[in-house]
Amino acid sequence: MNAALPRWADLILLPLINLLLALGLTALIVLATGSDPVAALTALAVGSLGSADAIGYTLYYATNMAFTGLAVAVAFQGGLFNIGAEGQAYLAGLGVALAALNLEFLPPALLVPLAILAGAGFGAFWAAIPGWLQAKRGSHIVITTIMFNFLAASLMVYLIVNVLIAPGSMSPETRRFTTAADLPGLASFGFPSSAPVNLALVLALLAAGGVWLLIWRTPWGYALRVMGESPEVARYAGIDQGRMTVLVMALSGALAGGVAVNELLGAQHKLLLGFTGGYGFTGIAVALMGRNHPGGVLLSALLFGALTQGGAEMAFEVPDVPSEIVVLIQGLVILFAGALGNMLRPGLSRLLQRKPA
């Protein structure tokens, strides 16, 4: 049952109600654990949006999620469920680090773009393999991308611990990249905070615009959407689906590589173990909530970024609220906005139809 809703209600009102439901249920659970839900939710809100620092961190997290969200969304437009953004982002870190560590002699204006390209390239390569396996061998992309997450993790542990580790260092990370490879923080453009939010945010916005153009304004994007709608229709239209699958997976992996740019060039300035921090998986939820539309992905990335940042603050400010509550909120948001996203649709549609619009 896909009840018709006006566009504004579909895109804004319904997600908002779902979000409020998730927060309401969280409040009830906080209450049940014997804490003050008002204090907890206030800490969440203030912690994520209440100050320049809070906003800075929120945007910093949101940047990662925007990249992985876009990665998942673009593949999904072609009917491909890329679960492997985590591994692709991780491998992209290798590309970024190799460029940053080996091309130190270059000026920033060359080094930074090259490092970004290397990251995107490595991410694209890591995603294209499962794409190729599906296109040529029929191996299901969900399975292979999951497997490739494990492969990426093992490979990166080996490389960081045994090969790339800074000489004499005890912690599993490379030496610091040259400062020429630093992606400038927004602070250097007058943003009143020392939060690690950096130019990768702008890159994410550009990527979202690019993805939008590609999907809705090019014949290639048209063909991609046709394939996502139905492989049968694509076959009828003479679309080369094998080629399409490899290409869109490569694009998806390149987008996931943005996490490495934000984290390594923008914040950490070195390659370290586990820097992807699960953003690849959050990206699935972000894309789901953002309806696989670049605009929606940006908004939901902002929401998830705020939840991450605000949640950390809440755990700090209201210590008797278990820190797992943040994960709970994220889970509930995904549940209400994604899995149960259509639960309220028929009721809302009836309600809106009753009063003349």
């Binding site: 018709a4 809705w216 014949p219 139905s230 229709v233 076959r235 009828y236 239209a237 003479g238």
Partner: protein, 515 residues
Amino acid sequence: MAASDAAAPAIELVGIDKRFGAVHANRAVDLVVRRGHIHGIIGENGAGKSTLMAILHGFYQADAGTIRVNGHEATIRDSRDAIRLGIEMVHQHFMLVERFTVLENVMLGAEGGARLAPGAARARAELSRLGEAYGLTVDPDARIEDLPVGAQQRVEILKALYRGAEVLILDEPTGVLTPQEADDLFRVLRALRDQGRTVLLITHKLREIMAITDRVSVMRAGQMVAHRNTAETSIAELGELMIGRRLSAPAPRPAPRLGETLLEARGLSLRDAAGVERVKGVDLALRGGEILGIAGVAGNGQGELLEALAGMRTPSAGEIRLNGRTVFPGRDFNAASLRRQRLGHVPEDRLRSGLVRTARAAETAILGYQHDPAYRTGLGLLSHDKILAHGARLMRDYDVRPADPSLRSSLFSGGNQQKLILGREIERDPAVLLVGQPTRGVDIGGIDAIHQRLLACRAAGKAVLVVSVELDEILALADRILVMFDGRIMGELTAAEATEQRLGLLMAGVQDVAA
């Protein structure tokens, strides 16, 4: 059952009303079906027949109105209620478990206890009794997947009877049958009637109504427009009632002005994904200015042949020549490349492959031609304005209603979707036009418009190939007819030689003795 019931009608519907959003599918429908009758319900697609039957079978519930079964008011909330009242439905698409035997399918849902054996023995006895009583003979131990379609349908009917059906609803039962199989079905239905059961036959084929029913009700636009005793009406009258205007007799066609051979296949064979050979050494040649019809019962390789000719599947052997050039075997054999070589293709199953369902009509109208620079802006990006303008023009030219290019493709009726696809393929001025099931799911008014379009292509010197399971359609359109059976061409008839009888035999795999 009380004695007074004997006189009451088997089914009585009073004032049935059903809306789906803005669509008023049934408006105050009244229907009386007498016991021991074969009662036909005809109407165009979208007239509300299926909705009405779905209400009777408990799939939908009416917004208003009363259902009486044997004179008693009944509430039918789901199909279990319907079955309890003795109302059974034989669906257009069979609801059988392919890998089960006939016996297992018949018992399904009526196993009769935790242990299968006693129930199975009972079912076996009952099956043989029913088989004898109604001439419904099927081997109880055959697997469904091994049975021909006609036999599968008999299993559906047996299943219904086994569960005690008093009223049997058949939804377009002859769509997948050869004429001979349809005759067998009609014999069974008559036997059922003669033993006091009631049959409700839903169809849009007027000839069937005349051949088999006792009484007929006509639906149009959600309303019952007439009830007639079959003996007192005619095809012409029913046709008029059904579409609300007089049907024009088909205009005689001028003889074909044959041009060059534009499409040719030699020894064409094709295997499906499972490696089964679906097309076996087919030869055909198609010249400009003629319509070649391919007849056959659904599933005898016509669909696969069509897809191979369109470049959607790679043949396993043989040769295809298009406009005098060998395209298969060849390096660039695919649908996009053949399309560039002026081959238009209206696919058999438009919902599955011809239509971008969730996209706007204007986007469906460029499917396959999305690379055409005519739809780009100066910067090389797709131009929504140009796509919409093209869609609007196409919809106007081909009378697609509503003519709103921004409307989702899935929201159009079958006939209008088909006109949109046909328009898309014809407007490119193809040399060869392949059309699969041109009017499947299209209402009568639409059928006429589509046939006119195809005849116009013929007059314009195009080579037109029509694959259809509707014999009427083949007979109305084709200059030459090839009949396919089990992946082979069983025979070729000219339009003048073709009769339903001869086609039917070929479709059943019997070589034409007269030929």
